[in-house]
Symmetry: none
Subunit: 202 residues, 4 copies
Amino acid sequence: MSRLAKRRKELVVSLMKDGIYEAAVRVLMERGAEGLTMDRVAESAGVAKGSLYNYFRSKRELLQFIHEKTIEPAKDFLAEVRAASMPAAEKLQTVVRMWLEHFATNRGIFDFLFNDPRTREVMEDCKRSSRLEGIEELRSFFEQGIAEGAFRPIDTQRTAEMFLGAVILTMEQQLMLNLNRPAEESAAALLDLFLNGLRPQA
Amino acid sequence: MSRLAKRRKELVVSLMKDGIYEAAVRVLMERGAEGLTMDRVAESAGVAKGSLYNYFRSKRELLQFIHEKTIEPAKDFLAEVRAASMPAAEKLQTVVRMWLEHFATNRGIFDFLFNDPRTREVMEDCKRSSRLEGIEELRSFFEQGIAEGAFRPIDTQRTAEMFLGAVILTMEQQLMLNLNRPAEESAAALLDLFLNGLRPQA
Amino acid sequence: MSRLAKRRKELVVSLMKDGIYEAAVRVLMERGAEGLTMDRVAESAGVAKGSLYNYFRSKRELLQFIHEKTIEPAKDFLAEVRAASMPAAEKLQTVVRMWLEHFATNRGIFDFLFNDPRTREVMEDCKRSSRLEGIEELRSFFEQGIAEGAFRPIDTQRTAEMFLGAVILTMEQQLMLNLNRPAEESAAALLDLFLNGLRPQA
Amino acid sequence: MSRLAKRRKELVVSLMKDGIYEAAVRVLMERGAEGLTMDRVAESAGVAKGSLYNYFRSKRELLQFIHEKTIEPAKDFLAEVRAASMPAAEKLQTVVRMWLEHFATNRGIFDFLFNDPRTREVMEDCKRSSRLEGIEELRSFFEQGIAEGAFRPIDTQRTAEMFLGAVILTMEQQLMLNLNRPAEESAAALLDLFLNGLRPQA
DNA sequence: TATGAATGAGCGTTCATTCAT
DNA sequence: GATGAATGAACGCTCATTCAT
C-alpha cells in the first residue's frame, strides 16, 4: 500500500473512532453509564454492532478511548500551566477556570469518567488514574506556593485532595441542579475561599 | 385484623427488611456494586429470591432502602448538631469528624452509595438526594457562622458545595489509596484550611 | 424442607435434566454437533433458554451430562462382564454385541461422543476419556486370554486399539450407509476375524 | 482471451489455491479446527479476506479443497498399489505403512479431516467420502487375497471396515497419547493380527 | 482482480422479575 | 407469606459473507 493510501486509511479509521466516540458520549448522556451498551453505541453511530469491533477490540477498549479522548485536553493544559512561570495562586485559578469551562462543555461525560466504577477499573489499568494525576499536579502548585511564601506550609497532599474535591463537587452540583454558572465566577469563588478562608480577616 | 396483630405484622416486616438490608450490604462488600444481584442477596439473607419481592417491589426499591438505611444515622446526627447551641465552626468540625468516622466504619458502602450510577439514579428518584440534603445542612452552619460574625459573608451555597466536595474526596481518596488516617486528624486539617485559608496570616 | 419434599424435588430436577438430555440428543441428531446450540436445545425441550442454566451451569456441563448419560450403561455392562468368570473370547464377544446393540439404539450420539472435538475436551476434563477406558477394559480381556493360553502373546495395547477401532468403524459405517445389520452377526464376524485371522487354517 | 493466457490464468489460480491451502493447514495446526476462521486463513496466506472468496465460494468449499488436497497423495498411492502385481497381503502391508507414514507427517490434519463434524458434513456432500473410497480399495485387496487363496472367504465389506477402523484408531491413539511409534512397526503388528488372528496356531 | 470495512445473525451467558404451588 | 423454577430480554462478542472501491 502506498504511503498516501496508508495516510488516508489512518484518517478514515480516526474519523470512525471519533464518530463512535461521539455516539458513545451521546448514549452516555441519554441513558447513563449503565445504559452504555455496544448495541446502543452502534445504533447511535449508525453502524452495525460488529463494526464497533473493527475499531475497538472490546468494550473495555472503547471505554479507555472515551476516557483518554475526554481527559486529554485538560491534561495537556495542566502540563502547560505547570510549566509556565506564574505565581501559584494564579496557576490554581487558571486551571480551575479551564476545568470548569471544559466541564461546562462536556457536562456529564466527566461525571461518568470520574465516578463510574467500571471506568475506574479501566483507569487503574492505565495505571495512572486521572484523579491521582490531577491531585499530583495540584500538589505541585501548592508546593510552589509554599516555596514562594505565598501559602502557609500546609499538608500539600491533603490540601490537593480537598481542593480537587471542591472543584469536582462544584461541577457535579452544577450538573445535578442543571445550573449554568459562569466558570469565571465559580473559579473566583473557589480561589477566594481557599486562599482567604472563612474567618474575617483581621 | 386487630390493632395488635397489625403492629406485630409491621414489626415482622421491619425485621425482614433489616435482615435483607444486612445481607445486601454483605454482598456489596464481598462482590462490589456490579455483583449485587437479587440471587445473592436472597442467598445471603437466607430467604428465597421471590421473598425479596414481598418486601421490596423491585431491586430499585431495595437500593433506595439500602441508601436510606445507611445514610440515616448520619442524617440524624446532622439534625442533632444543627439543633445544638454551638458555634458554627465547632458544628462544622463535629459533623465532619462524625462523617469521617462513620465512613471509616462503613468503607465501601459509601463508595457504592455515592458513586454507583445505579444508586445515583435512585437518589434522583428520591427527589431529595442525600447530597443535596447534606449541602442544605452545611449551608445552615455557614449562615449561622456569618450571623455570628465568625465567618465572612461568603456565598453559602457555593461554600457548602466546596466543603462537602472536600470531605467526600478526602474519604474517597482514603478508600482508593487504602489509607487509614485518623478521622480526628482529617477533620482538623479540613477545618483549618477552610477557616484560615492558604494565605499566611498577617 | 421435609425429607419427602426433598425427594420430590430431586425427582423433578432429574426429570428435567432427562428432558433436556433428550432434547439435546434430538438436536444432535437433526443438526449435528455444530448445530447443538443452547437455543435449539431449549426450544426442543420446550423451555426457555435461561431455564437450561437452572439445571446445567454451562454448555460444557450439559455436554458432560450427555456424555455420561450415554456412556453409563455401556460402562456398567463392561464392568459386569469384566468381573464375570468367562473365557476371554466370550467376554469380547459379549461386550461387542452389547456395544453394537447399544449403538443401534442410540445411533448418532455415539458418533458425536467419540468424535466431536469439543466433546473430547470435555472427556479429557473428566480425566478418563471413554475411549481410553474402553481400550483399558479390552486390554484386560486380551491379557486374560493370553494368561488362559487362548490367545497368542501379542501386544495387548495395540491389539486393544485395533479391536476398538474395528468396532467403532463398524458402527459408524452402519450409520453412514444407513444399514441395519443385526448386532449379533456383526459381533460374530468381528470375533471370527480377530480370533482366526485372514489366513486359511492349516 | 488466447489459449495461452487462459493457461496462465489457470496456473495462477492454482498457485493461489495452493497458497491458501497451506495457510489453512498452518492455521489448523496452530489453532485447531475450532480456530480455523477465514480471517486467520487470509492473514496466514497474506491475502485479504475477501480474496479467499475469489478462489473458494465459501468456507465449505475451502474445507473440501483441504480435504481433497490432503487425501490426494494417499489416494494416488492406493491406486498405484492396486494396479501393481503383488500378493494381497503385501499390498495391505504396503498401504498401511504408507498411511501411517503419511499420517505421521501430517498429524493433526488427519484428525481434523476424519473427526471434525464440519468436515464430515462436507465429506458427505462430496457424496463419496474418503472413508468409503478407502474401504472400497481395501475390499479389492481382500477380494484379491481370497481369489489367490491366501485369505479365507470372509465378508470383504465387513473386513475392510474393521481393517480401516483398526488403522484409523491406531493413528488417533498415537495422536491422543502423543506417541511416536514407527510406522513400520505398527503396520507389521496390524498385518500380523489380521492375518494370523489371536488364536495360537496349531 | 484485490481489498478489507461493514454487516447482522448467532453464540453462550446473566439476571430482574413473575407466578403457580 | 414463602418459595424457587421459569422466563426472556439483554448483554458482550464472533465470524462467514458481501460489496463498494
